[in-house]
Amino acid sequence: MKLLESLFPTNDFSLIAVILGMPLIGAFVNGIWGRRLGKPAVRLMALAAVGTSFIASLIAFLILDHAVQAAGHGHQRLYFTAWEWMHTNGGRAGSNVVIDARFSIDALNGVMMLIVTGVGFLIHLYASSYMENDPGFHKFFAYLNLFIFSMLVLILGDNLPVLFVGWEGVGLCSYLLIGFWYDHMPNAAAGKKAFIANRIGDFGLICAMFLLVHYTGALDWTGIQNNASILADNPADAYQIHVWPLGGGTYQGFFKFLQPAEPFTISAATAVGLALLLGCAGKSAQIPLYVWLPDAMAGPTPVSALIHAATMVTAGIYLVCRLSFVFVLSPFVMTVVLCVGAATALLAATIALVQTDIKKVLAYSTVSQLGFMFMGVGAGAFTAGFFHVLTHAFFKACLFLGAGSVIHAMHARIHDDDKAQDMRNMGGLKKYMPYTYWTFLVSTLAIAGCPLLSGFFSKDEILFRAFVNHATSPVAAKLAARHISVWQQPEWIGKAVYAVGVLTAAMTAFYMFRCFFMTFHGSFRGWAIGRGSLLSHPDHGDHAAASHAGHGDHDHGDHDEHGDHDDHGHHHEDLTVPGPAPHESPLPMTAPLIILATLAAVAGILNPAPFTHMLPLEHWLEPVFEDAVKVGVKVAENAEHLEYGLMVPGVLAFVVGLGLAWAVYFKAEGKPAKRWAEAAPGLHRAAYNKWYVDEFYEATVLSAVDALAETAAAFDQWFVDGILAKLSSLIVAALGTVLRTLQTGVVHVYAAAMVVGFVVISWFFVAPHAQASTESTPNGDYVVTAAPGMGYTYRWDADGNGEPDKPDFSEQSSVKVHLDPGKDVKVRLEVTNAFGRQATVEIPLSRPQAQNTMELGQN
């Protein structure tokens, strides 16, 4: 420990640079030289990069822990300033806004860092086998490493702009990875969808940043925290924001109701909180921006695991936790977070109930679980919400990787993605894939909330907290004295959310076990399995390389075989012909499964809330959240006694969900489900089609955007292209046609033109040009200057008497004439040139009558 601390002094904690730098180097090397390095080197580079990062994270965590121990109770941060970035003098709060490329580790992001690098490493390991046969192997790992790097920047950044760099980075990487098989249209579309949905959220985050720097004069965590109270405390009217929801225009007649008499007045805290919530909803797939996440499973399965479980989607929860002290200032925002979380959890769970694609079930399950996490943080139980992030990372990563393993096996015969992922084609895989089966079972139990597994503890804590916690405004009393009323959270909301949560938990147990039973139990429905084909399997190592070369996971194998992507749709084999049995995945894929399943099982001991008061995670995170919780969260008085009582519905939800799934999908092999679907076909279809939310967006927002785009395109086509471009090109072309006739290529025509030109120019020089320009000054002096010419001499008649002033021509090229007001004169100029030819011009000069006597007097 001493050695470590001497190596990495805590006042300038450069170990963070190692944690961040390794994945970046990995991405760089694999991205630039990956194609030439070959697969083993790429694999080594990628795994070593994340592995080193994980080891460095562990060391950093130990040092942080030691620092916390040494300092006693308190919020410890280890800082590392990479470089000075931006400074401004004099923010609104009179402070200097300092934005450096600065990173820090504290209790919250220390844990997060371990999850990202640890689970990230396992997913890398898994992917190194899973993506074995993909031609874009090196590209994939470059993206994956870059993803880890971006995520680490996001969580380790010490201020919002640095966080935003990582925030955009994961957005970019998710776009690249979801659309990894970009030559397949739906994948590219899914990548685009994720990107755009995230951009909407990012708009919120940017607004929040502007508001924060405007009101608190700081963007780093400590600075915001120190000044946060100002957001709600309303020391001046400037800290209140007036909002006209539908614009400040005047509506007439029927539409008058759209125009409120008064604008809504919200506090700065509410504005900041809502803007932040929009950002978090985008990243963490909450209503209304959740639509990208289910589509994000179009990417390779390890990517789904990485995005869904360990990294990107939890960024929103992380940010809410990070800025918990801002959120708690506004009970309204807390309530919105709570309700959005509950609604998302329920909606996604209903969709997951009827999906048949194994990855889609998991994807909606992720959205639902993220809703749970939002419920937790919305209830002010930031530790509980974050604990669910932690446990979810383990079991959801395990589930996704397990699903990948199953799909990998299904690809032995079924090369069509949709069919290979369809649970109706699976069944009975327990026999063939024991490792996948058992790890999947453990994770399913964990996510369903089986008592004593990790998911039970985290979910139970969230539900309990939602019931007993109550968000209050910390400054309500103060503001009441100044006659400013604050919106307060009604008592019943927590109870309602609790009920929704329990219902969702039961649905979670049901759809997860439905997925489990359909995949692993019953009889295999994929294809006929040949006699003895189990025995004829070569061992796994050879297997992946030999008989399986070309269909590792997706259609990417078909690139090798056919070189033509469209081909794979026609590549159906006759599934009634007996084929080899599905097989277990190779070791690099099963090892992460086992580790993750173990973690999913035991992670609960970090915070086994109902059973003991030894709560390591809560204790560890307490300094981060204590200020926020102290000011903004009121806990019901009899909470302690309610704890066990409230646990019962949670456990019941698990039992009911499991029991129902067992009865329907294990006992009756799904027949009742078919009957139900037939009994209510509309309902089933609506749920299966995700309640038509995508179609709703299509019809409203997207059609409006499309209409705008079409108008713009028509304008471009008709006006810009048609008139501006075509017309001007037509003019130039016509001019060209005329000039082209002059270009005969015949020497004589050119010579004749030359002669004509010569004659014209000669004539110009031979003929004299009498021209003059006049300058005047206000006092009546006029200077007439003759234009110069070759061999010109001049004779002037300046006094206008008709006789030349001097009898001879001279070099004098200008004359000066003085005129009194109201007088005029005709100056005559005679010019003779070198050939003795003469020309004459008369220049009339006149001075206007003076307007007043003052001017006269001056003259």
Binding site: G745, V746, V747, H748, A751, V755
Partner: protein
């Protein structure tokens, strides 16, 4: 003999050369017409030099012109040869390679 005679002869020669340049189609004749014009100019320069013998400017210009003529003819004949190789003709109205 007054200088006017020389100048009239020079103008006459120049005009004949110019008309020949404009109306004849044979490139070789065209070149010869150019020579005629240049020599008309040479004659004029020498005549001026004879009229004002104290300065040698006219003679100097005439020498320069002769040198320029020699260079011009060398290049001109090379072009005519190249043209003949490509087009099998020395008629200038058929030599419209510069077009387009």
């Amino acid at each position: 003999m007054p200088i006017t005679h020389y100048l009239v002869l020079g103008a006459l020669l120049f005009t004949i050369g110019g008309i020949g340049f404009l109306v004849r189609r044979n490139v070789l004749v065209t070149l010869m017409s150019i020579e005629l014009m240049l020599n008309a100019v040479n004659l004029t320069l020498i005549a001026f030099n004879g009229a004002y013998p104290e300065s040698h400017t006219g003679q100097m210009f005439a020498f320069f012109l002769i040198a320029a003529e020699a260079a011009e003819v060398a290049v001109g004949l090379a072009i005519v040869l190249a043209l003949f190789r490509i087009r099998r003709t020395v008629r200038s109205d058929e030599a419209d390679l510069l077009k387009n």
